[in-house]
Symmetry: C2
Subunit: 197 residues, 2 copies
DNA sequence: AATATTTGCTAACATCCGTTAGTATATTAT
DNA sequence: ATAATATACTAACGGATGTTAGCAAATATT
């Protein structure tokens, strides 16, 4: 009887969630089976249910874990007394950092949230919509202050967020430049594209 | 017994593929069942198999249809005698146009190709890799000609392609700006971010 | 009109899925 | 050491899935 090994400061449930994130990223939520997950954890499928309620709960944990981190960062950035363009840069850097260091969770939260069930689904969608609105508001502030080009702010947000999602490909690429170079390149292109000089 | 209605110049198979694209976009390939598809086509599930070989074949059709269009455009752009930055702009415009006018297929090809089965899977991945290499080569040419900022070309390609993928959100948004405005905004940000002035 | 072909239907299959029940074993608390 | 709890196992369930077989109706061809 092989128990799930746990590291310091982490429950068995957290181990399962983490393995689930990797699996959902690789195969997609629907295509990843509980039996797959069990194998990756090193246990029989039924045993997982001593630690979790359902497969969907795993997706909740992943998606809201990520969403909460972004929301807190947004609170922090908004509260700061920096220019709009600096705020944008802070957010982009955070996104890249999250994508680099919590790759699996962020990726899954981005692409698999559709499979959440209500009320989590609507909750998640609302949070996502709010985040984008707040991001767009910062860009609009930048436009008013003549720091940023006159563009459609919601469109700019879409571009930024999805561009960052592209790190997914970088992450799995064989010849990757290092993370700090990657960040600099992205900032150059994205902030450079927004900035009014 | 209600037959599948066909428009001029389209087979019944094409109708099915088109409905499949819409369904795969909405639910994801794995979550969309053949019974779902049958209902959307207006027929029983088994009847679909008079026109197609398998569910996966539908995904082949969608993914390679899209991939071929992009490859042909790349041939055309490469052959033209324009500056590198103009080539980049042509490609971006084509991507946006494809995303706006063939939304479902492009979206599915982008996000669901994982579920292709070999040998189609490796074939598709190779095509995708080649396309990006050719795109990156154009950017590198632009850097040599001092049209484009000194950035990592593969990273720039990732950003561009994923940024365009963001049109997905625009497409379903309720308050969308019109397609031509969208394109202009994207060109401003993306080409503006690359250009060395 | 007769025949051949295409397209649809119902029924059923084998397989996989998430999950539960019941039980055995390992760990922790007393 | 004993009791209590946490964790794992085997077995099985009901339901969904992709697909096939066999047959009926619609359409196309002669």
């Amino acid at each position: 009887m092989a128990r799930i090994k746990i590291e310091k400061n982490s429950s068995r449930k957290e181990v399962i969630v983490s393995k689930a994130a990797a699996l959902f990223r690789e195969k997609g939520f629907k295509a990843a089976s509980m039996r797959d997950l069990a194998e990756s954890v090193g246990v029989e499928a039924a045993s997982l249910y001593n630690h979790i309620k359902s497969k969907t709960e795993l997706l909740h944990e992943i998606c809201f874990g990520v969403a909460n981190r972004f929301m807190h960062k947004m609170d922090e950035v908004e509260a700061g007394s920096t220019s709009a363009i600096e705020k944008v840069e802070q957010l982009i850097r955070f996104h890249i950092d999250e994508m680099v260091n919590h790759y699996e969770e962020v990726y899954v939260s981005d692409r698999e949230w559709k499979h959440l069930a209500d009320p989590y689904l609507s909750n998640f969608q609302t949070q996502r919509r709010m985040y984008r609105k707040r991001f767009a508001a910062i860009i609009e502030e930048g436009i008013r202050n003549k720091e940023i080009k006159k563009i459609d702010a919601p469109t700019a947000v879409l571009i930024l967020l999805h561009a960052i999602g592209g790190i997914e490909s970088w992450h799995r690429s064989t010849q990757k430049i290092n993370a700090s170079n990657l960040t600099d390149n992205m900032i150059t292109i994205l902030v450079g594209g927004l900035e009014l000089k």
